[in-house]
């Protein structure tokens, strides 16, 4: 009888090896702090953006449980160094516990950021039709920082990426935020916009683009905002599917690899935040979360909000994949924009 030989399956080495880039540049990326708890509370969204790394949309049902929200608030309360709560989705405002989550975090004197897609104000809840027109007043009352995607200051690129009619709805939603004082100098109410390319190319320089946005939105629509964050499209999920279908994946990855910037690598966001999934599992960032790359402590034990331990989380080795090249290309990319 022929003996069965167990073959160890060795995955082929990626041509786009992020860790090799780090080694070659003598860079070691370890956690520096956890100053931000970024919570993805739902994959439900009123929009279906073509580049969305979450694959969010009106049919998604994933929601962080009430126990999960309570646990996040407890973590925030127990750990003063975690000064910022960053709530994302989907459209996080569609989660039934969203308002309570914001109000309680504000009560804990945390800085609260909401990744607000603007159009949800006008579209409302895609399943229940519940209105969300109260949001500008709610945000202002709680003095949360609003961060909103607007891929360009014109309709063509914006609607190409985020769907027909999104640009004009976004202008109306910004008008309502401005009316509450958002983006208005001296109000202290922060409205920051996010630019990301509408295809497989790198963002333009953040400062120049911010000046263009400010000039064009003011002149054409009478709108104001505080800052512009440029973010690179991550080659995962829906955007990767587009790259694969259009035969542009290799060219995009080669572009990211060629643009590797050690200075941008030093400032990657996974060194200072931790990302929470809808089921309470912890990740190094929202992208790792969407790829099911769970964060684990130094002993390989998965991390979760349900047995959260600050020191264990700080001791975790950050997990990398080829998508990380998106955060280190050119001027770098993070949830707060360019990093170099």
């Amino acid at each position: 009888m022929t003996p069965v030989v167990q073959l160890k399956v060795v995955p082929p080495a990626s041509k786009y090896d992020f860790e090799d880039q780090l080694r070659r540049n003598g860079i070691e990326l370890t956690p520096l702090s956890i100053d931000t708890l970024q919570v993805n509370i739902t994959k439900l969204c009123n929009q279906v953006c073509r580049h969305c790394h979450v694959d969010a949309g009106p049919q998604r049902r994933e929601m962080l449980s009430p126990e999960g929200i309570a646990r996040c608030l407890e973590i925030l309360e127990r750990h003063p160094p975690i000064a910022t709560l960053d709530i994302t989705g989907g459209a996080p405002e569609l989660h039934p516990g969203f308002d309570m989550f914001v109000e309680n975090a504000v009560r804990l004197q945390k800085h609260v950021r909401v990744r607000h897609n603007l159009t949800v104000q006008l579209d409302g809840h895609p399943q229940t039709r519940e209105s969300k027109e109260y949001l500008p007043k709610f945000f202002a009352k709680n003095r949360v920082e609003v961060i909103s995607s607007l891929p360009y200051y014109q309709e063509y690129f914006t609607d190409a990426q985020r769907g027909a009619g999104v640009f004009h709805k976004s202008m109306e939603a910004m008008r309502r935020l401005n009316r509450e004082g958002y983006g208005v100098e001296g109000s202290g109410l922060l409205l920051n916009l996010v630019y990301n390319p509408v295809g497989p190319y790198l963002p333009a320089a953040q400062a120049g683009l911010e000046a263009d946005y400010k000039r064009e939105l003011k002149e054409k629509f009478g709108l104001v905002f505080n800052g512009l964050f440029t973010i690179t499209n991550m080659p995962i999920n829906r955007f990767k599917l587009h790259l694969d279908k259009s035969g542009q994946y290799e060219a995009y990855m080669e572009k990211l690899l060629a643009a590797f910037n050690p200075a941008a690598a030093a400032g990657v966001m996974c060194r200072s935040l931790i990302s929470v999934g809808h089921d309470g599992r912890l990740y190094d960032c929202d992208f790792n979360q969407m790829l099911d790359m769970d964060a684990a402590d130094a002993k390989g034990r998965r991390l979760s909000i349900f047995d959260f331990d600050f020191e264990r989380a700080m001791g975790r080795p950050i997990r990398f994949g080829e998508h990380c090249l998106g955060c280190t290309a050119g001027a770098g990319s993070s949830c707060g924009g360019a990093t170099a």
Partner: protein, 111 residues
Amino acid sequence: MSNYYESEDLKKFGDIGQHAKSLADDFFKYYGNVTGTDGALSKREKALIALAVSHAQKCPYCIDAYTTQCLETGANPEQMMEAVHVAAVMQAGITLVHSVQMQNHLKKMVL
């Protein structure tokens, strides 16, 4: 190879250094200094000029490269299309201004 222009060949631009490396090095240094930096003109303005020249010279490699470069410097489609119109109108003007030569000669030829 079945065609004279292959989009994959754009990646081989660096290969022009074969057989004449120092000249290619000089060229790429000059090229990078001119197009790759903000100077009296911004990188975006330079990309729009290069896009117009790419059309005037009918170079498919350059059209692809500078369409991307325009996007990566924050240009919008209206600016890009206007740049192509500048190239087109210059070419039309250059053709038409030569009609002065034709008219000069016509006058000589007509009693």
